[in-house]
Symmetry: C2
Subunit: 323 residues, 2 copies
């Protein structure tokens, strides 16, 4: 049995916990939290709940730690820290800082004799894998990534910070005409606005200036100003009833050609339609934790990404049956 530790206990950690319970070759040893452990109620009755500061006491008792912290402030500090003591997996997704994170984690993992795997999930993660496979087999071509329809938590949070807003849910939605054109093998140059629209469902305080809120959303730089954005005001009850889930998904499409003089055109697509973004991402992290364990058993050390993982390492059974 692969003994798993989970750091954090938010939605993603709960996804990992469920995936570990659904994996016959894994067991959850402990959840590590910065909250008061007695206030954290995990689903698995056999696992411990401990303070994050006690993690080091678990040396020799955990095969892989799945770090479920946030990319902005948490993972850049904690993944290197954990990598010096344990094999570790994270879902670091700040694309611009991945090389820096890789270097920091690699140094600590090598020093500690551990294997670390960063930036796993569906994007970065499965979508990145689709891009590498498809760029390798179709070197002449063009990539497109569309996200949604799904909830962007970063954009929902940005709306919640506007004065007068009580709660909000933002959906990222691909523009159907653009998606159809790319699927049909066309290779348009698409602006940000032509790729996605943003749908906002907002609960306002009683008496709030709705026009001002709508304007504040639609003109917000980076988040909304470059998109066609719709704002719909709803009640707290409607939000709880119709928007409680965290669905997401998207699609990676590569169109390209083979041949030297006479060219043939090909289109490849990988798409996901997820009822629960953290549930699915947690399941991806868990499969990659299996690969980390197996690499560690072979005596490997240092940082890896999904690109370094032979797919057979993820699969619990005999992969030849999948050919």
């Amino acid at each position: 049995m692969i003994r798993i530790g989970i750091v954090g206990y938010g939605n993603l950690a709960k996804g990992v916990e469920a995936a570990v319970r659904n994996s016959a070759d894994m067991t959850l040893a402990a959840v590590f939290t910065r909250r008061e452990p007695e206030k954290v109620h995990i689903a698995d009755p056999d696992a411990a709940v401990c303070r994050y500061s006690e993690l080091d006491c678990w040396a020799g008792k955990l095969d892989v730690v799945v770090n479920c912290g946030g990319s902005a402030a948490d993972l850049p500090l904690t993944t290197p820290e954990i990598a010096s003591r344990f094999n570790v997996v994270d879902s670091f997704d700040t694309h611009a800082k991945i090389k820096e994170h890789f270097a920091a984690v690699d140094e600590r993992a090598k020093a500690g004799g551990n294997v670390a795997l960063i930036s796993v999930g569906w994007d970065p993660g499965l979508f990145s894998l689709a891009r590498v496979y498809l760029n390798s087999v179709l070197p002449e071509g063009k990539d497109y990534t569309f996200w949604g329809r799904g909830v962007s938590q970063g954009h929902s949070d940005a709306i919640r910070r506007i004065p007068g807003v009580l709660d909000a849910r933002q959906y990222t939605v691909p523009v159907p005409a653009s998606l159809d054109a790319v699927r049909a093998g066309q290779t348009p140059d698409l602006t940000v606005r032509e790729k996605h629209t943003r749908e906002c469902f907002v609960v306002a305080e009683e008496g709030a200036d709705l026009e001002a809120i709508e304007k504040a959303i639609k003109t917000m730089p980076n988040y909304f100003a470059d998109y066609d954005t719709s704002v719909t005001f709803i009640t707290a009850e409607e939000l709880a009833r119709d928007h409680k889930g965290l669905p997401h998904g998207g699609t990676v499409i590569r169109t390209g050609t083979t041949g030297v003089e006479a060219k043939d055109r090909h289109t490849a697509e990988f798409s996901l339609n997820l009822e629960s973004n953290p549930g699915f991402t947690g399941s991806v992290l868990t499969a990659f934790a299996r690969a980390v364990y197996r690499l560690s058993q072979k005596g490997e050390t240092g940082c890896r990404t999904a690109f370094d993982i032979a797919p057979a390492l993820l699969f619990p059974g005999d992969p030849l049956s999948m050919l």
Copy 2:
């Protein structure tokens, strides 16, 4: 430069030749044929054309041999033979005999100190990879594979063997209602007939008994009897004008759940729409030849499948840019 040898010079070999020309890190050294070399005219002016029996003379001059023979009679003999002298890649696709082929190739590759990679293409190959990744990250679920719309050469050949038939082209077509149901996340149990239909375009000899040909096709066991099959008689000119390509494609879909008590449902899909089946398959074989070369440079030996290949090994550049 990775020096490539190609065995055979049919459509697939021509696809490999074009892909090698489109790869900056590869060069075609020679094509090996069982025909008279002077009668084989390859596109690359700098490569040699030699008899297959001369392959051994090229020891030390080829980094990877791409074996483009057929699965039925050729690859089971030649891939082990080549593996004892060279690194080799093939597209062996007789699913029921893959383990046997693997064992034969593995023994010879290990004895010769070479790396061999079998069963690469899009199915088996990229579709197999999609199945392994998706089964690993969604262990609770159900797989579906649909093929087409595309030309099945085996089924076209079967029609050509019927007395009175001059030429034929058979298209395998997914049943739209079944594909839509699976894409929508349903998990029906589908019969052979419910998954695919077969469209046959047939050129008959003058005066041939068309009713007898149509009946012979529609009742042919294994190939057509279990399917809804349509037969359309056309002229040789129409066949040459409208059906000269070898398009193919298909889609792998996995629907599954995460969660323990409350389950969330997810759907993942990988699909290909190929204007030229041999052109694309040749490009896939070429990317995997790069991986074989790199594994051999590391000192590895023995037989591999696509599942054993870390995706970074396929990619000519820095894969971190793809995250």
